[in-house]
């Protein structure tokens, strides 16, 4: 399942890289990319674990860049 999240207000390119790295390591994630410019985090998640993984990703983002608002698009 593909999940797309917008990180509104993401303002540090290095943080974006760190968030991407952190999310990639989450269990249940097959692949993740975070584009600093479009502020979109695209995650490929194992079927059935979407909710749990998105929640974990939210924690990762909040830890590294608390200013960015984490909004699930679809």
């Amino acid at each position: 399942m593909k999940k797309i999240v917008k990180l509104e207000g993401l303002c540090c390119a290095n943080c974006a890289a760190k968030i991407e790295e952190g999310v990639k390591k989450l269990p249940g994630i097959q692949d993740a990319t975070l584009s600093f410019m479009t502020q979109r985090l695209v995650m490929e998640i194992e079927d059935g674990r979407e909710e749990e993984v998105v929640e974990a990703a939210r924690k990762v983002a909040d830890k590294i860049e608390p200013e960015a608002e984490f909004r699930v698009i679809r």
């Binding site: 890289a17 790295e21 990319t33 410019m37 479009t38 695209v42």
Partner: protein
């Protein structure tokens, strides 16, 4: 500017004024440190707070922490003024960063502002504004002047001109009439149009393009991955060096505060953001510049690949040629018993093909171009693999007309047919057993193909190959006419894949191979090539899905623009990487040796990032030659 940025500007102005006042009053007033302290707080009171918060969350080496330690250290060694200046400039740099990034995001969002907000749905003769998602196939919508076309469809009533600039990069409006198809995302300029919807919003052109553009930067270029990996090791290494610098030399040389000051400068230089930000910003600008030309790329990795293009493989039909068949020559028999005028020959042929829907028949009728009277034709028979036979009323008498290939003529006992010089498919005509002449039907070469091929050569594309399912001779003739060096004919779709794989093996190391097709039947080849380039992206889902780069219009010359943009972007990225790393390393060396002050360190961090960002913004600007 956002609210947050405006507030920051005010803070920085206050801070700068206080700093200036402090510098003027220094030595004249003994509580001048109060001014410096206030200046520091105005510029960066939040930085130590953020550092603390992030440490609590387990994030240690972020730039907030580094700046806090560096400025506190400077204060500790008595360099109050410099501590304030470092914080002030750091914040100025951050503000500039966020402003530049915001601007760049905005300008690309505006460029891609093709998303329609609503559709005027006609229901029982009444007009109702609804979300484009709610419109079903077969519904009728109204598009007024100035509105975006929300869904793909066919015009039922009205005519107008459309602005397709956002989709194709083409500034000239396109005229549209009743019965023609209309593409979502274009803007209706003059007349009211009644449109029957042919596709749901999810399948519409506009939704496909938005999907593509929004996901574009999720495929990262090598340079992007390099810089984030570099940053990951760079910061810890410099921080460790700073600690060593603060502890080791004083043990042997003494002068603790001098070394602490140098160590603090190291921490300022160790911030990674300047390095990391300029690379994605450049690529993003490049993607934006390309889409402004009507060229969409599916990721910044493809910008790199396009910049390295060295081999281009073209599909012939629909790519270099229009894919539309046209009668290019009409040659009546010279020595036949019946000599006909060319006009007459075309008329006879058109009537014989009256009931056929074969593309060749269509082109013959189109060339004839007059109203046809179906009662002048009867008993049409298809002669499989040979042609057609029909009874046609010519000059008031029913005559048996044969129309077909050379084999058909030979079976009729006709010899001495002409050998037309033009390439293409030859259609021979006979009345009974009397040879009438022939028509040559060929695919027409696109207007800008020849120039595109010449320009691509000039741009340094060393090998250009044409593949076609057509006969070898036809392929070779077309290739020769447009100036291509190599062509291979008689290929099935699977053969094209094999051929491209062969070319991939023989290409030079470090270069890339692009395949240009129209997305019809060549999806496997498009995905096999390093860069799959699809032309005529508008209205062709297959192309948009299979390709890595989509040219929205039918112009092969857009590849030249794409290459120019890609090379410029990659050049900017390289400049930025070399410049940023170079300056940082240089300043670190000078600082360690005591030749540089903290001012130089601030320049290495903030100054470099500002310059790199200004350089990155150049990627967005591209002028078509």
């Amino acid at each position: 500017m956002t609210k947050k940025q405006k507030k920051m500007v005010k803070r920085l102005i206050v801070s700068a004024v206080l700093l200036a006042a402090g510098m003027i009053l220094e030595g004249k007033w003994n509580v001048v440190w109060v001014l410096f302290l206030l200046s520091y707080l105005a510029a960066g009171y939040d930085i130590p707070l953020k550092a603390l918060r992030n440490i609590r969350k387990g994030q240690v080496f972020d730039e907030n922490f580094l700046m806090t330690v560096a400025t506190f250290g400077a204060v500790a060694v008595g360099e109050l003024e410099e501590a304030v200046a470092v914080m002030l400039f750091y914040q100025v740099g951050e503000l500039f960063n966020s402003y530049a990034v915001g601007k760049s995001r905005e300008s690309i969002a505006a460029l891609m502002d093709i998303n329609p907000e609503y559709a005027n749905l006609l229901r029982d003769g009444r007009e109702e504004q609804v979300d484009p998602y709610e419109v079903e196939v077969g519904d009728v919508i109204l598009v007024k002047p100035g509105e975006k076309v929300p869904l793909d469809g066919v015009v039922l009533k009205g005519n107008s001109s459309l602005d397709t600039k956002a989709l194709t990069g083409e500034a000239m409006p396109v005229d549209i009439q009743q019965g023609e198809t209309i593409v979502s995302g274009s803007i209706n300029l003059t007349g009211v149009l009644e449109v029957e919807v042919t596709r749901l919003f999810d399948d519409s052109t506009v939704a496909k393009i938005l999907e593509l553009v929004e996901n574009a930067s999720s495929r990262k270029a090598k340079a992007e991955n390099f810089i984030t990996r570099f940053a990951r090791v760079y910061t810890p290494i410099v921080v460790i060096l700073a600690v060593i610098l603060a502890v080791v030399p004083p043990l042997f040389l003494g002068g603790f505060s001098v070394w602490l000051y140098r160590a603090c400068s190291f921490l300022v230089v160790s911030c990674p953001c300047a390095l990391v930000i300029s690379v994605p910003l450049s690529f993003f600008g490049g993607l934006g510049a390309a889409s402004r030309q009507g060229v969409l790329l599916k990721g910044s990795n493809y910008l790199e690949a396009v910049a390295n293009l060295d081999t281009l493989v073209f599909d012939k039909t629909g790519t270099l040629t229009t894919g539309k068949f046209q009668v290019s020559q009409v040659i009546p028999a010279e020595h036949g018993e019946e000599s006909l005028a060319a006009e007459k020959l075309l008329e006879v042929a058109a009537y014989a093909e009256c009931h056929s829907n074969h593309p060749i028949a269509l082109s013959v009728r189109e060339a004839y171009g007059r109203e046809m009277d179906p009662s002048r034709v009867r008993e049409t028979r298809e002669l499989a693999g040979k042609g057609i036979c029909a009874s046609v009323m010519v000059d008031g008498a029913w005559t048996e007309v044969y129309l077909g290939n050379r084999r058909l003529m030979e079976e009729l006992g006709i010899e001495n047919m002409q050998e037309p010089s033009a390439m293409g498919t030859t259609l021979f005509a006979a009345r009974g057993q009397n040879y009438l002449g022939c028509l040559v039907i060929s695919d027409t070469i696109r207007e800008d193909t020849r120039k595109a091929v010449a320009d691509l050569k000039r741009q340094g594309i060393s090998r250009m190959v044409m593949l076609t399912g057509d006969r070898e001779e036809i392929g070779r003739a077309v290739a020769e006419e447009i100036g291509l060096d190599e062509s291979y004919g008689g290929l099935l779709p699977a053969d094209k894949v094999t051929k491209v794989e062969e070319l991939l093996r023989t290409k030079q190391e470090g270069t890339s191979l692009g395949f240009v097709g129209d997305g019809i039947n060549d999806a496997p080849v498009l995905s096999r090539a390093d860069v799959g380039i699809a032309m005529g992206g508008i209205g062709s889902d297959a192309a948009v899905e299979a390709a890595d780069m989509v040219i929205m219009t039918d112009e092969p010359s857009k590849i030249i623009d794409a290459i120019a943009i890609a090379r410029k972007t990659v050049g900017i990225v390289k400049q930025n990487i070399v410049f940023a790393i170079g300056v940082k390393v240089l300043v670190l060396i000078l600082t360690a040796m005591g030749y540089a002050t903290m001012w130089a360190a601030v320049f290495a961090d903030v100054g470099v990032s500002v310059l790199a960002i200004l350089n990155a913004m150049r990627a967005l600007r591209y002028k078509r030659q």
